[in-house]
Symmetry: C2
């Protein structure tokens, strides 16, 4: 039998893990520096926790787990009975499945907060880096199992939180070396636009149409607005937004005059200005066509695009109210962000941002060649000494042909190889070979560790 992987899932090789760990450790490091604490939740949640939280489409994309009592039962008619019930109901019943794999980290986090509310001191700043699962149609860059890296602050309305999250985004991408635009909007600005157009109930249609401006152009956007039932007068009100060109400051001044008649709209602009001022990052750009997760976000909306790379957003987030309301804990406002590891990885590959040590496996710095029993005994104390200094090292386990052992060192990108034959053993020496340039040094065994440290840390 030829083994295979389920569609949309992946193995990660040592070299890939090296690069993925780089990305997650940068993100976790920045989260930590900003006072966020890590939690983890189980992969499985009760179906009642997950269903109804992601819309009807989301419910269809949950990976449901078959009840284990169906497995356990060895009674054929017992299983058949369960199926008969399902057949009668014509639906997935509780007999079949009561649990599913988590779809994101946000709903499990809300559940966590409600269940542990008596142990949590608010505001609660948590981060979480774990895989999620979606039964989506797999395609390039979209997987059925992928890692999310979320940070949320809940239990505080302060705009300082939005500013902190923008600063985190800024710092993460600076550390990774990815030039980005951090697009910021506010749901209240979108509400203001819908309000001054005289059709507040059409906020979603308007937002969807505005969002397409870059792709389909002004005329098509106007056409779409009209097809959604907006009057010519309403469209006239929106038109200046479509044609406006200017700097961030000019854009805000323009919005202030446009939305002068909408208290909500003006609040949205004031919030946007405050967040931008507090964050003080040149990468931040107001973008009033940004509508990501509109049904969900109630204040700030963030989205991050890598510059000069054709790929979707690589991070995003926003302010939400009442996240925990679905579990009966009311009036807890929060704001959060999420980084997409897979796309960040692709961007870094495309921009060639991985340093040489991240393109290789995370392996030993020194390999002792194995020539047989006696030579092994000569090398083992040296190996121990090198490892005691915290340097990853190994002795080839079998006394096979040297060519094979050197090929192993090359494949694992091990930079130095140590050889000890009878000449070296008779004179308490060891030969060291630099695998990059082929240079060989014969040194006293007492000099091995300083020699290696010099090469590895001082590039001697």
């Amino acid at each position: 039998m030829k083994p295979s992987l389920p569609k949309g899932t992946r193995d990660f090789s040592p070299a890939e893990m090296q690069r993925r760990n780089l990305i997650t450790s940068v993100i976790a490091g920045v989260y930590h520096k900003f006072g966020f604490e890590q939690i983890e939740t189980p992969a499985m949640e009760n179906l009642t926790t997950l269903t109804g939280k992601y819309g009807e489409e989301g419910d269809q994309l949950l990976f449901r787990i078959l009840n284990s009592r169906l497995n356990e039962s060895k009674n054929k008619s017992g299983i058949a009975d369960a199926f008969q019930v399902m057949l009668d109901k014509g639906t997935n019943s509780e007999l079949l499945t009561e649990r599913a794999l988590r779809y994101d980290l946000t709903v499990p986090f809300a559940r966590y907060v409600v269940m542990h509310q008596n142990d949590i001191t608010f505001p609660f700043k948590r981060y979480q880096i774990q895989p999620v699962w979606r039964a989506d149609r797999p395609q390039k860059g979209r997987y059925r199992e992928f890692v999310q890296c979320d940070a949320d602050i809940i239990g505080s309305n302060s705009l300082l939180n939005e500013a902190e999250l923008v600063t985190i985004i800024d710092e993460v991408f600076q550390l990774l070396g990815i030039p980005v635009s951090i697009l910021v909007n506010n749901r209240k600005i979108l509400e203001g636009i819908a309000e001054i157009s005289g059709v507040p109930e059409n906020i979603i249609d308007i937002t969807i149409a505005l969002d397409k401006l870059d792709k389909i152009g002004i005329d098509k956007v106007i056409e779409e607005l009209k097809s959604k039932g907006l009057s010519d007068a309403a469209v006239e009100k929106i038109k200046p937004i479509l044609t406006f060109k200017g700097s961030a400051t000019e854009k805000i001044a323009f919005l202030k005059s446009l939305l002068a008649g909408s208290a909500t709209g003006l609040t949205g602009i004031a919030e946007l200005e405050k967040v931008m001022a507090l964050a003080g990052s040149p990468s931040v750009e107001p973008d009033i066509t940004l509508a990501r997760g509109l049904n969900y976000y109630t204040g700030a909306i963030f989205e991050v695009k890598a510059k000069n790379v054709q790929i979707g957003s690589i991070a995003g987030g926003g302010r939400y109210d009442n996240l925990t309301g679905i579990f009966g804990m009311e009036d807890v406002s929060g704001v959060g962000i999420s980084f997409g590891i897979d796309r960040i990885y692709d961007v870094m590959e495309e921009l060639q941002l991985f340093a040489i040590e991240h393109l290789q496996g995370h392996s030993s710095r020194l390999l002792f060649v194995n020539f047989g029993e006696e030579e092994q005994s000569y090398c083992l104390p040296l190996l121990k000494q090198v490892r005691s200094a915290g340097i990853a090292a190994e002795l080839f386990p079998d006394a096979v042909k040297m060519k094979k052992q050197l090929a192993y060192a090359n494949a694992k990108h091990i930079p130095f190889v140590a050889l000890a034959g009878s000449d070296e053993m008779n004179s308490n020496k060891i030969t060291l070979k630099n695998m990059r340039n082929g240079e060989q040094d014969i040194i006293e065994i007492t000099a091995l560790l300083p020699w290696l440290q010099g090469k590895l840390y001082n590039n001697e």
Copy 2:
């Protein structure tokens, strides 16, 4: 609705994550130092990869995933059709489930090796730290989702590998501060015992009975051997093993004479001696009643017990042949170990081995109290400065009562709090409060960073 967790699963709080991360990072660090490289595999595997690999009982304990096309179908009669087929077959058919969550890391590793054999240079030394799922009956210390930390070397028969793994076990538990016995046995010794008893086919019955010696005593073991059909003569041959007392060296000498008539048994003893000599650890003890995973292991068998703690084994492993044979890749021998994070965690709690910083959440070292807009603006550049030095710090986001802000610092175990009111602002100073002893210092803002570094790193 009151949210809950599926039976046998757990949330991990910041303080628990701190401790769990300590354990996994020690293990990963040692694996790395010994030249092992990390891989990851997906949570889901095809059922065909997993079934038949863990015995009939294991198959029952797989968490199977419902095919998503059952979810996708909105056609009631479509779903009913699928159920009708299952009803007719009276079994879980492929229509219902084709995937399951991994049950361990070993079978996915075998699949990985077979699928990626052309990209791997052997011997392949990999480690893997990921959760596994088993539909076991949950009980104290046994969970349905738990993390395994495996390392394996495959493609080498050398006993150096066994010795390296024993050394890894030794070093991990030294670093964690847990006193352990590393019990070592060899399947060939068990085969030798069965052989000299004249009933080689009874190896499993003999081993199971020997394994119970500590619990049930000599008489009951003999009774059990007889009940399994062993003759009095066979039992007489085994009896000396049950009564033998002596040091490791004496035990080996005794075994050599006992098994003098079994070539296999003598090979097993020679292997055991060699592994013990190469590892050279005083924690290693030969234990001929050790039979862990007998159906699976072909050479060395390891098991680790914490001293002075009543708990099962906290790590284990052994040599296996032909791991990848199940996927059509023959003659690949390997040896591996696995650490049990949950039990190691429990042992460390019981022995009070977690240092104070691991008993607390992994949080900020400094909290700036928030007194309002102006004070915020005064503190923000200082916050930025502290973070730039790599120190985790935060500003309370809301200008609420100071008592609440100090309670937050206490709950998060933040050791220092910075306060700036009008007095401090007028004199470019800041007040620093030590949350452990209540001491307060008023210092120049330019002295903040060195002051904090002195307190945190030099215990000034």
